[in-house]
């Protein structure tokens, strides 16, 4: 959780929150730039001027030899709004490259795509999180909040007390353990579950037909698909009892205030966008979105997961959640940036495609990484590591020597959360100003200053790349004006004064929009869209040499690639290494017992982990946390099959076998 005061966490923090201070003084905190004089040589300390001169000179060489497409930028969902914005501008203006994407592609992209299709707008929660306090029923799909954002559990209390908490997860997670009703679908079949539940809603006469008529389009086509998915049919695919599907629908439909929330479990699939669309279809059929006290939302994963996807570090987007292929959007942003619209590059490849192409015949030769650790976090991480190694130039800006930083030619030590000022946009679309609390180590610089230093060395005027966060935010606000995520009415002055502003906020006098969609959805006609989607199943099915399904996720003590949390002693002690959660029957069949070291083998690679037997997981499923480096990387086995719309990789379901190490 980010420290955003009473509205979200009620002042409570989880262990990751209260230990985050330890990261400020991490023993291996980067305190000076490092450069490598030759491939395979050691990293040695360098001055900032030397490091930035070196990066600029080598970037110029690549640009001269390969054109702008020879350079790529990879950002992160943990970067502040200002950094995300300036990084996008840097790629498109200073480098002129289409090659920019970020790790949020691995996080929120499916939910974002589905929300855009349905509502015309992607805001993770289109209502304040505190609204959940009053809910009578909440269904969480593939979201283990008790481990990933524990303070949120308090907000589920009323629904729990009323027997209205439904959790869909292949594992009996800590969150599922709180549920009144736990549905355990086979990984990769959530879409079928949503179709079965939509069927149950319609056949049970629980659909609000008058709302559909008034506020939505496309129900008939979505229903024609769901009509084939009687709960009994969905049961056969998902393993979730038809009676439980009906019970879950009954709880949501019968509640006065009900919410349906998805997490990465539903989204991180090669069918992630369609899966989220199926859940939104169900929510629309039950009349939840656009009703005060009810709704659909996606629980954002990273600290700035929401803001990170609004300001232009995504391959297809410009600030304000504008589309890079929209001529009007290009004209508007180009005018703010003082460049010609035609000079803005076209949309580029998505994250995995970008990483997969690095150092290849036609791919980029140089990569700049800000706030991400793709050597651990990208799918098929073994391949990604080899691509990173094939680059002519890898530059990593980070706070600690992450696995990716250790591969770099130049490492730039940057500042972190409490050492700098900046804004984040939280999971409910509210903009938070984070103030500087402590002085950074003397050798570290802000990312904004790094970008400015590089841009100037690449021949851009310094005024184009301010390094003062407030100045960058003011420019971001102008660039976002008139876009979907309109920040133009938000300024540091209002945030400093303690105002709680949810975007869109289209003018200085505008109060912001805590609850979107109450009057109209964001499509031009004001109506929400059902999207007709059908179940296809995971890209890789279990069978033969790979009879089990591996799914990946987080554990309580760690965050993302673990580069930060593994450096906090309390967290490392709580969860020192990778484990593979497995049903005792499945472990026994593989000749393994609790505590044994095991190998999880897929067609792409092998990850090692310690066996943890738990009867709360499906017998056909194993679970691997993705926080650990080296041979314990869960992403050595994951499948890079991509969603056709969101370009989300299939992190959550791949075929594996389990064997003793």
């Amino acid at each position: 959780m980010t420290m955003d005061g009473p509205r979200v966490s009620a002042g409570e923090l989880c262990q990751k929150g209260w230990t985050a201070g330890a990261l400020l003084g991490a023993p291996d905190r980067l305190r000076e730039p490092l450069v490598r004089d030759r491939r395979g040589g050691p990293l040695r300390p360098a001055s900032w001027d030397e490091a930035l001169d070196l990066v600029a000179a080598r970037l110029r060489r690549v640009l001269a030899g390969h054109g702008p497409g020879g350079v790529a930028v990879f950002g992160g969902g943990g970067l502040t709004n200002e950094k995300a914005y300036l990084l996008g501008k840097f790629a498109r203006v200073a480098l002129g490259t289409p090659n920019i994407d970020y790790n949020g592609r691995f996080c929120m992209s499916s939910a974002a795509a589905a929300a855009q299709r349905a509502f015309g707008l992607d805001r993770g929660l289109p209502f304040p999180l505190a609204d959940l306090d009053e809910a009578d029923a909440i269904m969480l799909v593939g979201a283990n909040v008790a481990e990933t954002m524990p303070p949120l559990v308090r907000r589920l209390r009323r629904a729990r007390d009323r027997g209205g908490l439904v959790v869909a997860d292949p594992r009996r997670t800590a969150t599922a353990g709180l549920a009144s009703l736990h549905l355990a679908p086979r990984p990769g079949t959530d879409l079928a579950l949503a179709l079965g539940m939509l069927h149950a809603a319609v056949a049970g006469g629980l659909v609000r037909r008058d709302d559909l008529e008034r506020r939505t389009e496309g129900f008939a086509a979505a229903w024609r698909i769901a009509a084939r998915w009687r709960p009994e049919e969905a049961e056969r695919v998902t393993g979730v009892a038809a009676a439980d599907q009906r019970a879950a629908v009954g709880l949501l439909a019968g509640a006065r205030r009900a919410y349906l929330l998805t997490g990465r479990g539903a989204e991180q699939h090669a069918t992630g966008s369609d899966t989220v669309s199926a859940w939104i279809n169900l929510a629309l059929a039950l009349g939840l979105p656009g009703r005060e006290g009810s709704g659909y939302g996606s629980l954002t994963g990273q600290g700035n997961g929401q803001g990170g996807r609004e300001h232009g570090q995504k391959a297809d987007q410009l600030p304000g959640y504008r589309r890079l292929d929209d001529p009007a959007a290009r004209r508007h942003v180009a005018a703010v940036w003082g460049v010609a619209p035609e000079d803005l590059p076209a949309p580029g490849p998505s994250a995995y495609e970008l990483l997969d192409s690095l150092g290849t015949e036609t791919g980029p030769r140089a990569l700049l990484v800000f706030g991400s650790n793709p050597a651990v976090s990208a799918p098929r991480a073994g391949r990604v590591s080899r691509r990173l190694a094939a680059l002519d130039l890898l530059v990593v800006a980070d706070i600690v020597p992450s696995e990716t930083a250790l591969m770099a030619d130049v490492v730039l030590p940057v500042t972190q959360w409490a050492e700098e000022e900046g804004t984040l946009t939280n999971l409910e679309g509210r903009v938070l100003l984070r103030r500087r609390a402590v002085a950074p180590p003397p050798g570290a610089r802000g990312d904004l200053s790094v970008l400015r230093g590089l841009a100037v060395r690449l021949g851009r005027p310094a005024a184009e790349f301010p390094d003062d966060p407030e100045e960058v935010f003011a420019e971001l606000a102008r660039a976002s004006a008139g876009g979907l995520a309109d920040y133009s009415g938000i300024g540091y002055d209002r945030l400093r004064a303690g105002e709680e502003i949810h975007w869109p906020c289209p003018g200085p006098g505008h109060p912001g929009t805590p609850r979107a969609f109450l009057d109209r959805f964001a499509h031009p006609d004001g109506r929400a869209r059902f999207v007709p989607v059908d179940h296809r199943g995971p890209a890789e099915r279990p069978g033969g040499d790979f009879p089990l399904i591996a799914t990946t996720g987080r554990v309580l003590a760690h965050y993302q690639s673990g580069a930060q949390t593994r450096r906090v002693p309390e967290l490392a002690a709580a969860e020192p290494g990778a484990r593979v959660e497995v049903h005792p029957d499945t472990a026994r069949r593989a000749g393994l017992a609790d505590g044994d070291r095991a190998r999880v083998v897929s067609r792409r690679g092998t990850a090692e982990a310690v066996v943890r037997c738990t009867p709360g997981i499906r017998r056909d499923t194993v679970f691997l946390p993705f926080h650990f480096p080296g041979a314990e990387r869960a992403n050595l086995v994951t499948n890079p099959a991509l969603d056709p719309v969101s370009r989300m990789p299939e992190f959550k379901a791949c075929a594996v076998r389990l064997e003793p190490a």
Binding site: V153, A174, G205, A221, R236, D244, D585
Partner: protein
């Protein structure tokens, strides 16, 4: 090359599915020119959902499989309300009821099934249709007719206690009709269930307000009066719904000389004896006799679409073992495979659980490590797991009671902290173990607030508060006990 002319005789669910899959494989119509000929005057609809129309939760429009513009958008020629009346195999033409004819390269018979009227006096109108006061339940017209006649309070007889009969009886009773279910065999659903399951199912029906006459044969139907049984009693009925099974509709095939004994026999490419003529769905006998189930028909449609379009020339149909599901009112029943082996069987390991008073019954037959048959009545969670084991051929779980019962009871309140080991996490948010809390209890002697300060337990999601309170209370219990 011009596209192959494929004519589908019949526009029911199997035909509709086939047409969709052909167009999915060949969207532009370059491989197959498709014509679908339907006897009913409306586009295909979802027959499985007729129970919803009967119950009034769905409208006829809700169960349409294709909207009005579907055929045109998908380049499918659709002829409605004109049954195929004749087949000229040599000339490769079919004749339609309106006197027109269509030439084909491939003909697909998808004529479905028709309800069977048992040879009981007064049931038939003499022309093969139901007599006055009698209805079958196959199409939308039947359904609307039954809705009209089975008003709340009206006496209704349901003849035949198979899946459809039991579902119909329960559905009509729920809608307020006074229903009697008449079944000639010794117990309900005798093709799918053992005696115990049939007996418990009958109890459930009676509990739902359905009267039962089991082991009783109907001998005569008198319009306006009801059904006379072989013991001389009369079941009063303003409406008699016959649910005695269906027969494959094979008249067209038989007239064309394609042998049709209990279904049009087809091979694994769905070919009849004439390779230009194929058949699928309820009219086809593809290995096993047709059972009126949807899943085989869809699997056949997928194979046939691949073959006809040439996109999957190696596709073959293999009949899977069917799963019987019955769900109506509060009854949830699943049965598949070997259901009549008993616990003393020498051929298989059979385990069972019966609780007739609560309407629960489970039986699982195992061959070594594999499930070969099961009945689950009133145990929906177990049923879901058993069907997946059956479909996947996965090894049987070691926890046999769990296998048999699923999540039979509501989960007990979580174990109190007393029963936890010291290493167990009490506060997950902050990784505080029970041992750490007990240590803090000893050291601070404190209340919950002191424990929270010392360990941070309870300061995250707050979920552990009751457990921490309980441990804090231990202070008093342990006083005077040397540690």
């Amino acid at each position: 090359m011009s596209p192959r002319r494929v004519v589908v005789a019949g526009y029911g669910m199997a035909a509709a599915r086939l047409a969709e899959l052909v167009r999915a494989a060949d969207p532009a119509g370059e491989r197959v020119a498709l014509t679908v000929v339907g006897a009913e005057p409306r586009p295909a609809y979802n027959r499985v959902l007729l129970s919803g129309v009967l119950a009034g939760t769905l409208t006829p429009a809700d169960i349409a499989l294709h909207d009005r513009g579907w055929a045109e958008r998908n380049r499918v020629g659709v002829r409605l309300g004109v049954p195929v009346t004749g087949l000229d195999r040599r000339g490769r033409r079919v004749r339609l009821a309106d006197g027109t004819s269509l030439g084909y390269d491939d003909l697909v018979l998808a004529t479905g099934g028709r309800p069977w009227l048992p040879p009981v006096e007064g049931l038939s109108d003499g022309r093969g249709g139901p007599a006055e006061g009698v209805a079958t339940l196959r199409d939308l017209a039947d359904c609307l007719r039954i809705r009209e006649l089975a008003r709340p309070g009206a006496p209704v007889a349901v003849l035949g206690g198979g899946v459809l009969g039991v579902e119909t009886a329960l559905g009509l009773a729920a809608a307020g009709a006074r229903v009697t279910l008449i079944h000639p065999a010794a117990h309900l659903m005798e093709r799918h269930l053992d005696r115990t399951a049939g007996m418990i199912l009958a109890r459930l029906c009676r509990a739902a307000g359905v009267r039962t006459a089991i082991g009783a044969a109907a001998v005569r139907h008198d319009p306006g009066e009801g059904v006379k049984l072989d013991d001389g009693s009369v079941v009063p009925a303003a409406l008699t719904v016959v649910t005695a099974g269906t027969r494959p509709e094979t008249a067209l095939a038989a007239r064309a000389g394609l042998a049709a004994d209990g279904g049009i026999a087809v091979d694994d490419r769905l070919r009849t004896a004439d390779p230009r003529v194929r058949a699928l769905g309820d009219c086809a006998r593809a290995g096993t006799p047709p059972q009126g189930l949807l899943r085989p028909a869809w699997e056949q449609a997928a194979v046939l679409a691949g073959l006809l379009t040439g996109t999957a020339p190696d596709a073959r149909y293999h009949a899977g073992a069917p799963v019987t599901r019955l769900r109506a009112g509060g009854v949830d029943l699943t049965a598949f495979g070997e259901t009549r082996l008993e616990t003393d069987s020498a051929d298989a390991e059979v385990i069972s659980y019966a609780d007739p008073a609560r309407g629960m019954y489970a039986k699982v037959a195992l061959d070594g490590d594999r499930v070969i048959g099961a009945i689950a009545l009133g145990l929906p969670d177990a049923a879901a797991a058993l069907v997946q084991l059956h479909d996947d051929g996965a090894p049987t779980p070691a926890d046999r009671p769990g296998l048999l019962l699923g999540r039979a009871l509501p989960p007990a309140a979580g174990p109190g902290p007393d029963s936890l080991p010291g290493t167990a996490l009490v506060c997950r948010c902050n990784s505080v173990t029970k041992a750490a809390l007990l240590r803090a209890v000893r050291e601070t002697g404190g209340d919950v607030a002191a424990l929270a300060r010392a360990t941070r337990a309870t300061t995250g999601c707050g979920d552990c508060l009751p457990a921490v309170r309980r441990l804090a209370a231990r202070r008093h219990e342990t006083e005077g006990t040397p540690a």
